[in-house]
């Protein structure tokens, strides 16, 4: 499981912009700084993106090759997308739990968020059952 180890909690913390760049690279195979800027999903200066990508490379999150034609580096994720998302979720959850005075509180919000769909479905079905029951009562069936 060496590949997972690279993304474990001992990794340096990621800032919001770094996370955003990693997520963008996750959506494509690889990209140069200019290609990322041209996607229109980043509002930052060329040098900011370049420095951040370089930092991510040095932290071990990215691989890069020299793109001779464009005289720039071409960056790509060092790991599989699934591992990336799992690590991101784990890191964010850890951060959330560590910041809360009572760790069970954010966990209960998470459970609420995950089961929201369930409860919405149950409410919908409950309304349909009640509606049918009322209809039966109107028709004289108990």
């Amino acid at each position: 499981m060496g590949s997972i180890k690279t993304w474990d909690s001992k990794q340096p913390q990621l800032g919001p912009f770094e996370t955003h760049l990693l997520a963008l690279l996750c959506q494509r195979k690889d990209a140069t700084v200019r290609e990322l800027l041209q996607s229109g999903k980043i509002e930052a200066a060329y040098t900011t993106v370049m420095t951040t990508l370089d930092r991510l490379y040095k932290k071990g999150f990215l691989d890069r090759d020299a793109d001779v034609q464009r005289q720039a580096f071409r960056y790509r994720l060092k790991q599989d997308k699934r591992i990336f998302y799992r690590a991101m979720l784990g890191a964010n959850l850890n951060c959330l739990l560590q910041s809360a005075a009572n760790p069970s509180l954010p966990l209960s919000y998470l459970v609420d968020a995950v089961t929201e769909h369930d409860s919405a479905l149950l409410d919908e079905l409950r309304r349909a059952v009640n509606h049918k029951r009322q209809e039966l009562r109107r028709r004289g069936k108990p």
Partner: protein
């Protein structure tokens, strides 16, 4: 190699060959049939799923074993070739894996039941069945047990459901008990095959719909069952139940939605006449044909089985 040991290897090898071939045929057929699965009843789906095990068992018992015992000459020095040994090993793996899998499922169910303390037992008014009330954290309605299935209801469920909902839910579970669904699940455990899990899921969903149909007699009882189902589903999940038990709660959201919508739009459907006479005729014809051609058939089976042994 002794006569009977050689025979045992042949029977196991034949079983493996027939079982795997039929399982593959059913798996491929299911890929074409699954889009029409919604219109299939639970019995048909189960027959299709159980076909490889049943057919392989029947062919070995009624053809392969008699052909060997009647036609194989007693020659102590004859051995079994690599193909025969390989197939026999496959047969041993299938049998042992099936037995272990079934025993583990039984043990899990037994442990689950042991973890639910019984608080009281009461007899149903209009049925021979008795209900065992159990103390659990969640409302539960389930039928557990293979030979004599028991209906277990948690105290929470008794408090949660009104009398009409309770009656409908009990009728649903009794329908599972009378169709021996737990025994059928155990048989599937014995004959696990990688590409048939979709067919198994379809059968289980169809079995739930069949139990719903058996529990409902009119629109009011359909709504009572739907309401009971919703109450139980909102507080517990069927995933908490052991595999060898049938419970009122659905396994998935889609199953819940399908069942509730079906109950809300319930209308009288005349039960399709059982095709017992047709089946009896079919089986009798098959047995008659087998009886007439039994001798030549045994010789042909023996010739084929010789290919496996060499």
């Amino acid at each position: 190699m002794t006569y009977l040991f050689r025979g045992a290897l042949l029977w196991l090898g034949s079983f493996f060959l027939i079982y795997v071939t039929l399982s593959m045929v059913v798996a491929v057929a299911w890929q074409f049939l699954r889009s029409k699965a919604a219109s299939w009843d639970a019995s048909s789906l189960y027959r299709l799923r159980a076909l490889p095990l049943m057919a392989a068992g029947a062919i070995v018992i009624f053809l392969v074993i008699p052909s060997f015992l009647r036609l194989e000459e007693y020659q102590g020095e004859e051995t079994v070739g690599r193909l025969g040994l390989g197939l026999a090993f496959g047969g041993i793996v299938v049998v042992v894996f099936g037995a272990i899998s079934a025993l583990l499922a039984l043990r899990k169910a037994r442990r689950f039941l042991a973890s639910c303390p019984e608080t009281r037992t009461w007899r149903l008014d209009n049925s021979d069945a008795s209900v065992v009330e159990i103390a659990t954290a969640n409302p539960m309605f389930l039928v557990a047990g293979i030979y004599r299935p028991k209906l277990l209801i948690s105290e929470q469920a008794v408090r949660l459901l009104d009398p009409c909902e309770m009656q409908a839910a009990i009728r649903h579970e009794l329908a599972h008990a009378s169709s021996h669904d737990n025994f059928k699940k155990l048989a599937l455990r014995v004959s696990r095959f990688p590409f048939l899990s979709g067919l198994e899921r379809s059968w289980m969903q169809a079995a739930e719909l069949a139990a719903d149909d058996a529990a409902v007699t009119d629109e009011s009882s359909a709504i009572d069952l739907a309401s009971a189902l919703l109450k139980v589903a909102s507080r517990t999940s069927a995933r908490e139940m052991p595999e060898l038990a049938t419970s009122l709660g659905p396994h998935t959201e889609q199953e819940l939605r399908t069942r509730i919508e079906r109950l809300i739009s319930w209308e009288y459907r005349p039960a399709s006449a059982p095709r017992r006479r047709l089946w009896a005729l079919f089986i009798l014809t098959g047995l008659g044909a087998l009886a007439v051609s039994y001798g030549p058939l045994l010789r042909q089976v023996h010739e084929l089985s010789e290919l496996l042994i060499r």
